[in-house]
């Protein structure tokens, strides 16, 4: 029985001003693009602006600008001065946080509560954290006077646009690299607003260049002979294509790719906290999270109890206008992604799993998918093996802890995993055995600039965040090699 209904609490969008058309940000100024494509608000399909479709000439201009800035300014600047630019950027992001949050929610479809409380503050924190590294690189673990790679090509996904930009640009600049960044096709607006932040921070021209576009723009960037280092976050399929493309070259790469994380709940888990963790694990950001806890592994004794509490909790998830401060689950980012989620969910039905969603009214326009769980899932089902990247949870059960570990590790991915138990020794036992780069024990989906993030196996190469992430943008001084 509902006692109180939530009244709408809409965040005003008047704080953002969106231009009808954007060009690329190259060498400190906005260059006009030759072709443009629309970018829409996935919550209502309104066209927000038109984004330039970068071609190989645009990439060439951006890489050249980054090279000149690297050779003439950035690589020669003392670390303490580079660091001060990053501190400036962090501060401006904090000052303009509301603007970034609203713009992110409009362009991406994620709830304002998340863009306001997580994406934007964490983006600022990433710049602040890495700013402090810029003049302390001798202590990063690569010996004295480590060197940057040069020009870093960075390609980011649409699920955390400004946050992924910060994960990429902050360590690259702190280490002394210059950057050409390509935002995702559907979510370029906060990156273009970030270009204005670079101007406000008086960052030297060419240190950060942003070329918008689609997959062909990204491929042109990867293939450009003038880049030294690639950092990519996105699908495992594209990550493998990048690994093949750079095989004949000396280019370095870090790849943050897909996942199919197991969230393992033992019989001695704290059930209420665990239900919150399951919800956060799969419904945070509409499940558009590479490290989402998309495979729930329940120990048989407690499976019924957890599932019934989970269903009660899921019925309270508020789906709707992302700008409403009460909204928990926003819009699916694109019609393509919605089609993928629908296709995989359909395969779950067809392969014999049982689908359940709470009653919820979805808006008539825009792209929406209700919070969904599948029970009776086996390891052979597509929904247990393939990344859905949506608000869809596959539930499996296990009897013994050994069986849980085997099922959890039975995937080519290895990005993250969750484990729930009140018994410390069991938590550590499981954490040792789970083949994943990030283990959340009695919590899920926590991120911090000081905490390394990245996967085992086909979830990628290298780490981002912390000292480990920083070293991906550095190489040892030549004299340190025998």
């Amino acid at each position: 029985m509902t006692i109180f209904e939530y009244a709408p609490a809409l965040e005003s969008r008047s704080i953002v001003s969106i231009q009808p058309e954007y060009g690329h940000f190259i060498n400190g100024t906005f260059a006009k693009g030759s072709h443009h494509f629309p970018t829409i608000n996935p919550a209502d399909e309104e066209t927000l602006s038109h984004i330039a479709l970068g071609n190989s000439q645009d990439i060439d201009a951006a890489v050249n600008a980054a090279r000149v800035a690297y050779e003439s300014i950035w690589s020669k600047m003392p670390g303490k001065e580079r660091g001060k630019y990053l501190y400036r950027i962090a501060r401006i992001l904090q000052e303009r946080a509301r603007e970034f949050a609203v713009l992110e929610t409009l362009d991406n479809g994620k709830p304002i509560r998340e863009s306001r409380d997580i994406d934007v503050p964490l983006a600022a924190a990433h710049f602040f954290y890495h700013a402090g590294w810029a003049d302390k690189l001798d202590f990063a673990g690569l010996g004295n006077s480590p060197r940057p790679h040069g020009v870093a090509a960075q390609i980011i996904p649409w699920n955390f646009p400004i946050l992924m930009l910060a994960w990429k640009i902050a360590p690259a600049l702190a280490a002394g690299n210059t950057v050409v960044l390509k935002p995702a096709e559907t979510t370029s607006l906060t990156a273009l607003l970030f270009a204005q932040v670079c101007q406000q921070a008086e960052l030297p021209d060419g240190v950060v260049n942003i070329v918008t576009g689609n997959g062909s723009t990204g491929a042109a960037l990867v293939d450009h002979p003038g880049i030294d280092k690639i950092a990519f976050t996105g699908s495992t399929e594209v990550g493998k294509a990048i690994a093949r493309a750079i095989a004949p070259t000396q280019k370095k790469a870090t790849l943050e790719l897909g996942g199919k994380a197991a969230n393992v709940v033992f019989e001695d888990a704290p059930i209420d906290e665990c239900v919150e963790g399951i919800v956060n694990g799969i419904f945070f950001n509409q499940g558009h999270v590479c490290c989402a806890g998309s495979r729930l592994l329940l120990q048989e004794d407690i499976a019924d109890e957890v599932l019934s509490k989970l269903k009660v909790r899921m019925a309270k998830i508020r789906v709707g206008n992302p700008l409403d401060k009460n909204t928990d689950l926003g819009a699916i980012n694109s019609s393509e992604q919605l089609a993928k989620i629908r296709d995989l969910s359909k395969s779950g039905d067809e392969e014999g799993a049982e689908r359940w969603s709470p009653d919820c009214t979805l808006p008539n326009t825009g792209f929406w998918f209700p919070p969904t769980i599948f029970t009776g899932v086996t390891q052979a089902h597509r929904i247990a093996r393939e990344e859905i990247f949506g608000p869809v949870l596959s539930v499996l059960t296990f009897r013994t802890p050994q069986e849980a570990m085997e099922k959890a590790n039975n995937t080519p991915y290895g990005l993250s995993a969750g484990v729930w138990s009140e018994k410390g020794s069991k938590i550590l036992w499981a954490a040792q055995r789970l083949k994943a780069g990030v283990i959340w024990a009695n919590t899920f989906n926590k991120f911090d600039p000081a905490s390394p993030f990245g996967g085992y196996k086909e979830s990628g190469w290298g780490r981002e965040g912390g000292r480990h992430g920083l070293t991906a943008y550095l190489k040892e001084a030549e004299s340190n090699n025998e």
């Binding site: 004949p248 390394p452 090699n481």
Partner: protein
Amino acid sequence: MSERLEVKKTYKLYIGGTFPRSESGRTYEVQNSAGDFIANACLASRKDLKEAVVAARSAQSSWSSASAYNRGQILYRIAEMMEGRRVQFVQEISQSEGISVEEAEKQVVTAIDRWVWYAGWSDKLSVLAGSTNPVSGPYYNFTIPEAMGVIGAIAPEQNSLLGLVETVAPIIVSGNTCIVLASSRAPLSAITFAEVLATSDLPAGVCNVLTGNKEELAPWFASHMDINGLDLSGIDEPSLLSEIKTSGAQNLKRIHSFPESQNPRRILAFMEAKTIWHPIGV
């Protein structure tokens, strides 16, 4: 009294702690620098490699969960066992590589010392590459380096024993298991080295040694889906390197070549950083 006829050694492969011949039945002639016959070595096949990977995978979990102290002692034991066979190694290397006894002696003692150096790293890696991370929030957060899994390695052609040791030691000290392809031209000391491994308390399957043709076998290393990483220090040809890296992308193998012989970076390249979060509260 008639002169005693020497009993010569049959050089075989080392897979899962045993010394089988190649399942293919193939061998090739190993010659000294003057072109004279020394011995026949096994020409390992794709199937030998597959069996070696199975052995390495089944040994991996228990080897990586052995205590660091235990792994360190076993690696040190390898140095002890090699010391006892110095004369044999020197003779084999000088003969097959065509180098002087003094040069061979230097290579052997350096190889022994490399084991001592790498053995000492087993219980210091998490100090070097681990951290506790000061996250904003009530969480205890720490990062530890972990063994990556099964690693394939192509040992250098030159310095057949030292190159092999510098390839294998950094891979296995952290808890990985490996399959190493010995120098094609001078493979014999690698098999004698396998006899050292077999008597050093190193669990079966942790290090598997193949001899054969790297142009034939390296692409199978690259495409094997149960190998997590590759050390290609023994491959110089850019076209072969590029082919292997392209094929290795199928399961995103971590692929490295190392210019340095004694550097913890060689160990850490085949480890994964694992970060663990736990709430703090009452």
